[in-house]
Symmetry: C2
Subunit: 301 residues, 2 copies
């Protein structure tokens, strides 16, 4: 990135290592606290430098360092945070002594709070409103509305899927050519997620940067959407895989995964499930009441 | 709070003003950045002081100051963050130039990372697992599992409800005796949310503190669940309302709202909605294709 000139990038999307001890092949993901922060300051400073004055920076990060990296970006580098998006996935790692982890943070920064690209009217970005969806209300804006700042990913939204019988999903294989790369963030970023970000914050022909290209999702989506792209990747193996993936992507090609997050929710029959739960909970309650009665009887014998 | 002795509280839950210019009757919610941080450091320091060594502190906070307050609690006061819970509600304020706000942060801190109350086995805290729910899998843990760290609140989960015809929900009236107090955090905290926190992080007979009692939800729920409680409230009017509410609450009384977040999701017929969306999207696509064709014809005439 040091070789890029100042102010040449329109949009940067970064999903850096979260410093949670994940086993990468060439990178140590278990640095000392302040060393990780100093390193983050360095690469985010470079992102700030190479962005155009009206440029945009999206940062994906876990709970451990979300607060720290947000404040470094704001206070030390001068970014303005426009939205704090929470990416909620329903297949977190199952914990016994903590609440199960089920989200990552997507921090949306701009260099200049007055001037930036925000394609609020792109129909591919807008989502149907409740008025349109549920009620077909004539007063609804026919263009739909902007998405919320909480984005949901469910098991069946993941391109290559995984067993729906599992609560817990550790190391999905994402595609034959790449190493498994999921830590707790679960999977490589889905194309639809990058699609939303790239459509919202850049225009065709502009330049998208990914400093941690990984499996190449950002670059492949940028290419499909007619953007130019630059990516960096430490790992030879990832870089090879990403290159193949980007080469295979064609401008205008549809993105993988369901475009409409509401449609993709379809497979879960909420109503039936709720009835099932109710029946099971009732049965369980009855059983434990009976057991309690039996115990009480024993005690008083 | 200054009059409380050191180390007398088991659990503190605080939902302070978010410093976003909300109109309270006696409090200025529009302080200068560093003034708000200094004030937050003060009251959180007091919380730290009055907590027992094995005490727990939950902080509800908006996007604007979540990072700042998390780092003050960790770095300056010595709290350890065990979970970063995101509270997702599906009725955010509708924005035109930003993504719609749809969540708040619930930061879960302990004073001692080795010693704290965490009632992971309380059946009222556990939720059914996907294995139990969907598949009735015999290998599933019959006790269910711990909840995720993203908690969902939907319009029909709000005790006094509001029109489901609205995407946007500004100032719900919460109860006749209180002033409307919702800013973007939308509503007074639901009893089920406090119920989960109080059950998980305290035991019957222990002491729960709320430094910003507001409408008294924390205190009323603490009383219903057999805990002792202490609350502070600047506003005479809120304090009067909260007192009435706590007096009316009885130990052992059920909490308001649906206990099972999955059951409460029931009213939305996902499958039908998805089909409706699909039909509407298809129709819209066809209309715009026709319009495009017509335009093209006009252009070439």
């Amino acid at each position: 990135m040091k070789r890029l000139p100042d102010g040449c990038i329109d949009l940067a999307f970064a999903d850096p290592p979260y410093n949670i001890g994940y086993q990468y092949d060439v990178y140590n993901d278990n640095r000392e606290y302040h060393e990780y922060l100093a390193w983050s300051r360095d690469w985010m400073g470079e992102v700030h430098r190479v962005l155009k004055p009206a440029g945009t920076f999206w940062l994906a990060i876990g709970d451990e360092y979300a607060a720290e990296l947000k404040l470094i970006a704001q206070r030390e580098l001068g970014f303005t945070c426009r939205n704090w998006v929470v990416w909620y996935y329903t297949f977190g790692v199952n914990c016994v002594r903590k609440l199960n982890r089920s989200h990552a943070h997507l921090l949306y920064f701009v260099k200049d709070p007055e001037q930036f690209t925000f394609n609020a009217d792109d129909p591919a970005v807008r989502v149907p409103s409740a008025r349109q969806l549920v009620y077909g209300d004539a007063r609804a804006n026919p263009k739909g509305r902007l998405p919320d700042d909480t984005w949901i990913l469910r098991p069946h939204d993941v391109p290559h899927g995984f067993s729906e019988r599992e609560d817990t999903w550790y190391f999905p294989r994402v595609a034959g050519t790449f190493k498994e790369r999921a830590g707790f963030h679960g999977c490589q970023m889905p194309e639809q997620l990058l699609g939303r970000i790239i459509r919202l914050c850049s225009n065709p022909g502009e330049v998208v940067l990914d400093p941690f290209a990984g499996s190449g999702t950002t670059l492949a989506v940028a290419k499909k959407l007619g953007r130019n792209w630059i990516g960096y990747e430490l790992s030879e193996e990832y870089a090879r895989g990403a290159r193949e993936r980007v080469n295979a992507a064609k401008e205008g090609q549809p993105l993988r995964g369901a475009a409409n997050p509401l449609t993709s929710v379809l497979p879960t029959p909420t109503h039936e499930i709720s009835q099932k739960i109710e029946r099971r909970l009732r049965a369980r309650r009855q059983r434990s009441q009976k057991a309690a009665l039996r115990q009480r009887e024993l005690r008083f014998e």
